[in-house]
């Protein structure tokens, strides 16, 4: 029989009052449909209005609600209380790892946004045909080549999982590289050359040691680790080819 209450230990930090984060415990009811996010909402609405966190869609598509739950990066809208309650565990909720903490469970994302922009995540076709000419033709097979990498919701769980991000803040990171690959592999894009400088770089793909945690925690099965390794191979082949035929030939 599942317990009908469960304890949440939540990381609190208010820069106006605290020097560093500390934990605070709350007891919440367990309902079959409740996820960790519902527990947080319950606490904020009825117990402590100062509890601060991000959320929006409640269905795993907006990417706002990522947090560390018992040491694992998770979307809190997709993490059921019952899966912890049935083992009699407590639930420890902390902000995503390897990001600066603004307050309570809110992380600072400007660095991540800057990295996304650095990889030039927009279509760079060879020329821009007028709309009157219709769509770029792209077969379902060509769409399938990059489709997986286009599913990223920017939830940054992969950054919280990657030890390289933690140890080397300049590392561009899994989501940004996967997004760059999404465009590199899009048959309509010819901008791979413009992305080389940032990707084939010690802070780009060469910073990755294929720990593979990013792929394991990704809630949308984007497989950023795969994207990075695929780019590594492509970059090496490109480099070898440049001896045989100079770039641009």
């Amino acid at each position: 029989m599942m317990a009908d209450k469960i304890t949440l230990e939540i990381a609190r930090y208010s820069p106006e009052h605290d020097q560093e984060p500390h934990f605070q415990s709350f007891e919440v009811p367990v309902h079959k449909e409740w996820v960790v996010l519902d527990a947080l909402n319950h606490i904020k609405d009825t117990v402590d209005g100062t509890l601060t966190y991000r959320w929006s869609c409640r269905m795993g598509i907006c990417g706002s609600c990522g947090m560390m739950v018992n040491g694992e990066p998770k979307l809190t809208c997709a993490t059921f209380l019952s899966s912890y309650a049935k083992n009699g565990e407590k639930i420890r909720v902390e902000p995503l790892r390897y990001f600066p903490i603004v307050r309570d469970l809110v992380t600072e994302l400007s660095d991540f946004l800057a990295k996304l922009k650095k990889v030039k995540p927009w279509l760079l076709p060879k020329d821009e045909p007028p709309l009157a000419q219709g769509e770029f033709l792209q077969t379902p097979e060509q769409v399938d080549r990059y489709k997986q990498f286009s599913m990223c919701i920017n939830c940054t769980l992969c950054y919280a999982a990657c030890p390289v991000v933690g140890l080397d803040p300049v590392f561009v990171g899994p989501a940004a590289i996967a997004l760059a690959q999404r465009y590199n592999m899009d048959s309509r894009d010819q901008g791979a050359g413009e992305r080389t400088a940032i990707l084939a770089h010690p802070d780009g793909v060469w910073g990755c040691t294929f720990v593979g945690e990013c792929t394991r925690v990704c809630p949308k099965h984007v497989d950023p680790a795969g994207a990075i390794q695929q780019y590594k191979i492509a970059a090496v082949l490109d480099w070898l080819k440049s001896f045989v035929a100079p770039r641009g030939a």
């Binding site: 209005g49 601060t52 907006c62 059921f80 045909p129 599913m151």
Partner: protein, 594 residues
């Protein structure tokens, strides 16, 4: 107080806001363009749209047919000049998105694939798997990154529009990160903040859909239009509001009341067959299904759960294999977000609020009567959706009117003088108000969540699927009481850094204003049309009400309702009926088109 200034400012960074920003940047790259959003743009609610975006694409289709479907679906409350412009520009906008990289689904030969969608008589819905809104939003966001003139204010919350000399001149906004209150001046402002589903308790809408832009315009003196028209989707999960797509019923799902009985057969929707039949039973029109739910509820035949009354969607007889191949997303959503397995369990569903046809009143270019203020997307009411929106029209609406508003705003801004100093005084007043009413307030006794819950219950009761005068009057009085109690709110959170409780309190204030406007529009429209159904006035009344409701805010927080005629160009009002009658009504109307 710090003040920054731009030429064009978009409030809201979703589909409409980003499209408008790009359009303005393309009109004049020398303009200073800013997008201010209370969340990062990729969190905007556009991201959750699944079905698709309609745009005439195939040779067997025509703009007139798309227009007619939209106008008749809207029960003839759509402005036909706007609809004609919309259907003409929709395919171009969708194509532009393709040129920017949107991964539309394709036919084997590489051309764009289109599919059928409820209410559309031809296949014209473009789609990107079952995550069309997600792909559109991310394409727009990523494309917007390459435009240098666009500055973004991420996680800034706009609290007020600044109006002086008869025109809008800027906004006051809180930078959530630091708590700093700042003025942002702009020569043209486009509201792109989306709808207001959160004034209801059961909604597909995300937490952020609190009608901010509608309230901002309303408080600034710009009218809202057609606020009584609220679209329900008949099958949503009761707790999370997650939408269970029509496809689940199209594949053969049954809807059962508490006795396990397929109750739709009692409501003129045909007789139950083991396999689904188009436009019968579970595949009847959405509003009829939602209305049937209400009637079952009144008869006491719905199932009570801790999260409200529901009926059951039974997919168990379809078998695991079919569900995994044809409805994998339905199964995934139920399992991952509400811990229910449709293969073995009955899925609780009920009608949930999905879309607001009404909003900030604009013309065909997105301009409101208030100079300098425009609006686009779900927050606006042009109106193309009339009394009832067709599925897959709202995504292209964001693009078409976002682009129009962006262009119009850019051209307008190029001709304006910079803002006057008088508005800076207004901004200081706003800052003092925020501190006095919320941050430094002493002695309040109400919690945000309590008032919000009561407002939502009131709206569901009085402005739900069926309305009548007594309930609307009761709702009006209750909202008045809630507005008074709102003044007595006490926040636990008095800090400045990322104060989301303050944000919820401000959103609640917006929602109370929007709720008031909806209640009054519903009260004054004494007819039934599209999504607005009055038990006491069950028929459509084209003589008096072939008009848009315009609601203005009075100084004391109450409102007044006026009417503005609908623009009819080529399609005179016909009957919106189903079954045999529908064909007849269409044949009559078709003759008139020719």
């Amino acid at each position: 107080m710090e003040a920054s200034s731009h030429d064009v400012l978009m409030v809201g960074g979703g589909g409409a806001g980003l499209r408008a920003a790009i359009a303005a940047a393309e009109v004049n790259p020398k303009l200073s363009i800013a997008v201010i959003s209370k969340v990062y743009p990729m969190r905007s609610h556009t991201v959750s749209a699944e079905g698709g975006a309609a745009g005439v694409a195939k040779p067997d289709d025509s703009l007139d047919e798309h227009a007619y479907d939209t106008i008749s679906g809207g029960d003839w409350l759509s402005d036909q000049d706007a609809v004609e412009a919309f259907v003409r520009e929709a395919p171009q906008e969708l194509l532009q998105l393709e040129h920017w990289g949107c991964p539309w689904n394709r036919e084997p030969d590489g051309h764009i694939a289109v599919r059928a969608f409820g209410g559309m008589k031809k296949r014209r819905t473009w789609f990107a798997a079952d995550k069309t809104g997600f792909h559109m939003l991310h394409t727009l966001f990523q494309t917007s990154l390459k435009y240098q003139p666009i500055t973004r204010y991420d996680e800034w919350f706009v609290t007020r529009l600044l109006v002086d000399d008869g025109r809008v001149q800027g906004v006051v906004a809180i930078e959530l990160m630091s708590g700093k209150i700042q003025t942002i001046l702009a020569k043209a402002i486009i509201l792109c903040t989306g709808g207001c589903g959160r004034v209801f308790p059961f909604t597909t809408n995300a937490a952020i859909k609190s009608g901010d832009g509608m309230a901002l315009a309303y408080r600034a003196g710009s009218p809202l239009k057609d606020m009584e028209f609220v679209q329900y989707h008949p099958t949503g999960l009761p707790f999370t509001g997650i939408l269970i797509t029509e496809a689940a019923r199209a594949e053969g799902g049954y809807m059962l009341n508490k006795d396990g009985y397929r109750y739709l057969q009692d409501y003129n929707l045909g007789t139950p067959e083991p396999k689904p039949v188009l436009r019968c039973m579970e595949l009847g029109p959405r509003d009829r299904l939602s209305q049937a739910f209400i009637k079952e509820h009144e008869k006491g035949r719905t199932i009570e759960t801790p999260h409200g009354h529901v009926v059951h969607l039974d997919l168990r007889h379809l078998g695991e294999k079919l569900i995994n191949t044809r409805l994998p997303f339905v199964r995934e959503l139920c399992l991952k977000y509400q811990n229910i397995d449709p293969v073995t369990e009955l899925v609780p569903v009920r009608p949930v609020v999905h879309y607001m046809m009404g909003g900030v009143s604009t013309d065909i270019n997105g301009a409101t009567p208030l100079r300098g203020l425009l609006a686009a997307g779900e927050v606006a009411c042009v109106s193309i959706n009339g009394a009832n929106r067709l599925g897959s029209n709202s995504l292209p609406e964001c693009l078409v009117f976002g682009a129009r508003a962006g262009k119009t705003a850019a051209e307008y801004a190029s001709e304006q003088k910079p803002a006057s100093a008088a508005v800076l005084a207004q901004a200081l007043d706003e800052e003092k108000r925020l501190e006095a009413q919320y941050l430094h307030k002493v002695g309040g006794r109400e919690r945000v969540a309590t008032i919000r819950g009561e407002m939502q219950a009131t709206m569901e009761r009085s402005v739900g699927i069926y309305r009548d005068e007594p309930l609307l009057q009761e709702g009006t009085a209750k909202l008045r009481e809630l507005r008074e109690r709102y003044a007595d709110i006490n926040l636990d959170d008095r800090s400045r850094t990322f104060n989301t409780e303050l944000e919820s309190a401000l959103e609640l204030g917006f929602m109370l204003d929007v709720a008031e406007s909806m209640m009054q529009c519903a009260l004054h429209r004494t007819e039934s049309r599209g999504a607005h159904q009055r038990l006491d006035y069950p028929n459509r009344d084209d003589e008096r009400f072939l008009a848009h409701s315009l609601v203005y805010r009075n100084a004391d927080g109450t409102s007044r309702v006026e009417y503005m005629p609908v623009t009819i160009t080529r399609w005179p009002p016909g009957e919106r009926v189903y079954g045999q009658g529908k064909e007849h009504g269409e044949a009559v109307a078709a003759k008139r088109i020719r």
